[in-house]
């Protein structure tokens, strides 16, 4: 595989990431705890981008992988007193393994059937977790870690950075062309030598891996996991909203979307809690109907130079 020279988009994203890192180091704990959630959002957005963004398979149940990661970290830390970083690793691994198992079955379904299968899997998994006392049986698993905001921050920062670089190179690589071919016309793609099965599974497993990792960091940041919120569809929906708003499949879209979804949540939380999802819902409707390629598409069309640069 020949790796091309990286374009301006990747440089730009790296500068943003460098700014995020220095902001946490220079401005202290208060700022980093604000930015932490933004990075978790971004990590989730990039993880679902591998599935819904690149392949066009709408995944309403991505929160499943997040929950798997959360539970992996919570169990490891609270029962075995392990290092949370190990928990993040296990979360990523379990996300990958579950994605392999689930993907082998549900990637056979297309379009709405896939979307519906992802919904019911989350509900089934939630009801199954409630059965296990080891997993809190619907209660909370809490663990006491010494307050370590920078460690959490730089873990998720690293995950997002890896996701960005990976997204960028997958999009430019042979795999990326194959995956986009599947998005456009799966049968035609398979008839010209693209293997949809392998490629789809690859994309889905990448989504599971990073979803699990991000979920583990989320549990770490809130020092616990509860079944109800862990399987809450709101997170699934927000992730999906982020990439629809930002621009599906692109390298820069998920970060843009995460910022758009995150900022109102931060400012409106004090007034009406429902204001954020309400606005996001409205924005998603408008984007889906009138701007299917999101903010990135809008920027590309508005300016000839941006069209060449934005990826």
């Amino acid at each position: 595989m020949k790796i091309e020279k990286p374009g301006l988009t990747l440089y730009g994203l790296c500068i943003v990431m460098a700014l995020l890192a220095s902001a946490a180091l220079l401005l202290g704990v208060a700022v980093s705890s604000i930015l932490l959630l933004l990075l978790i959002y971004a990590a989730l957005a990039y993880s679902i981008n591998f599935i819904t963004g690149m392949m066009g398979y709408v995944d309403f149940g991505h929160v499943l992988f997040m929950a798997i990661g959360s539970y992996a970290l919570a169990t490891l830390v609270s029962y075995y007193g392990a290092n949370p970083l190990l928990g993040v690793g296990l979360g990523a691994l379990l996300g990958l393994v579950f994605a392999l198992g689930i993907g082998l079955v549900i990637l056979r379904f297309r379009g709405v059937y896939f979307a519906i299968a992802t919904v019911v899997l989350v509900l089934a998994a939630y009801n199954i977790v409630l059965q296990f006392p080891q997993l809190g049986a619907g209660g909370e698993i809490i663990f006491n870690l010494t307050f370590q905001p920078l460690a959490t921050y730089f873990t998720i920062w690293t995950i997002v950075l890896i996701e960005i670089v990976l997204t960028y190179y997958v999009n430019r690589s042979r795999i990326g062309f194959g995956i986009r071919a599947i998005k456009n016309e799966e049968d035609a793609a398979s008839s010209v030598g693209v293997s949809p099965r392998t490629l789809k599974l690859t994309g889905y497993m990448l989504g599971g891996l990073f979803g699990g990792a991000a979920g583990a960091v989320y549990a770490w940041s809130i020092s616990g996991v509860t079944a109800g919120p862990a399987f809450d569809f709101t997170f699934s929906l927000l992730m999906l909203a982020m990439i629809i708003i930002g621009g599906v499949g692109t390298s820069i879209g998920p970060l843009l979307g995460a910022v758009v979804v995150y900022i109102p949540s931060y400012f409106l939380l004090t007034t009406v809690a429902q204001a954020q999802p309400l606005m996001i819902g409205l924005l998603v409707i408008i984007m889906a109907l009138f701007l299917p390629d999101g903010i990135v598409g809008l920027l590309r069309r508005s300016n000839q130079r941006l069209r060449l640069v934005l990826e």
Binding site: V112, L121, L130, Q131, F233, A241, Q274, G281, L282, I285
Partner: protein, 294 residues
């Protein structure tokens, strides 16, 4: 024979629950079957139907059975508005719905679901409410059946039968069935595809909202803005079980689900029952993607 009594009672309740599940899913089935669009916000319109029953009971003293037609009338208007706001742009001038349009409608109705449920929390608050409707019980041998649930079950079957008769026996119904099979051919014989598709969507919404009203009988203190998150997935499973577009499929899927949930609940826990009910979908999609009905 306590075990036998238990099974028979649970079977009776499972069947009645299945009937109301069927009617709740039936609106989704009609829209999915005819215009080939899955409304992700389906659960939110069930919720609005249930709130319709609640408010009409609160202010006009109507029972859930009497509110069903009112909800259906509102549903017709909402359905027309929904078609022209969300589907028309994607469906017009197209012979079959493309994967691209499918994604657009999924994303747009998903945004709608987020919008409507959160608007409902702001307007109705998150506190669950309920309709008090209890016309007594009926004794069949050792099975005691609440009349409200029985009326609702009968009405549910009648609604499904009504839509079937409408599609099979009327002129407009034939046009809708033709549209479901071949849009271009429908246009060739002089039907306006947009009119046919919008009518089918509106009917689907009418049934959905009426179903929401009937459902309130089963959830005496469970009407809340987020109830759609449970009833939408249940509806998806039912429609897939029955096969989209098959009017009696809703009943087959609904009864299967109702009985599975009620019987499993009797012998295991509610969580296992619901997990199993949702997981049925996967083997059905793998082995019989066209649904249980031939």
């Amino acid at each position: 024979m306590v075990a036998a009594e238990l099974i028979v009672t649970d079977l009776a309740f499972g069947l009645m629950l299945g009937c109301v599940f069927s009617v709740v899913a039936h609106g989704l089935n009609m829209i999915w079957g005819v215009v080939k669009v899955v409304n992700i916000a389906h659960g939110e319109f069930i919720m609005l139907g249930a709130y319709g029953a609640y408010f009409l009971n609160l202010f006009a003293g109507l029972t859930p059975l009497e509110t069903a037609p009112v909800d259906a009338a509102i549903g017709l208007l909402v359905g027309y508005a929904f078609y022209y706001a969300f589907l028309h742009r994607e469906l017009r001038n197209k012979e079959t719905i493309t994967l691209q349009s499918e994604m657009v409608t999924l994303a747009a109705t998903f945004g709608l679901s987020l919008f409507v449920s959160n608007l409902a929390i702001i307007l109705f608050t998150g506190n669950p409410v309920g309709v008090n409707y209890n016309p007594g019980t009926l004794q069949f041998g050792y099975v005691r059946v609440p009349l409200a649930a029985l009326y609702v079950a009968i009405l549910s079957v009648l609604i499904i039968m009504g839509t079937w008769l409408f599609l099979e026996r009327t002129f407009i119904g034939s046009a809708i069935r033709a549209y479901a099979q071949d849009v271009t051919a429908t246009e060739l014989v002089g039907a306006n595809p947009a009119k046919v598709a919008s009518l089918a969507t509106a009917l689907g919404f009418a049934v959905t909202m009426a179903g929401g009203a009937l459902l309130t009988v089963w959830i005496p203190v469970g009407i809340n803005p987020l109830m759609g998150a449970l009833y939408a997935p249940i509806s998806f499973v039912i429609v897939v079980l029955g096969g989209p577009g098959k009017m009696w499929g809703s009943l087959v899927g609904g009864l299967t689900l109702g009985v599975v949930i009620d019987l499993l609940q009797a012998f295991t826990t509610a969580q296992i029952a619901y997990a199993a009910a949702f997981l049925i979908l996967i083997p059905v999609l793998v082995f019989r993607p066209e649904g249980l009905l031939k």
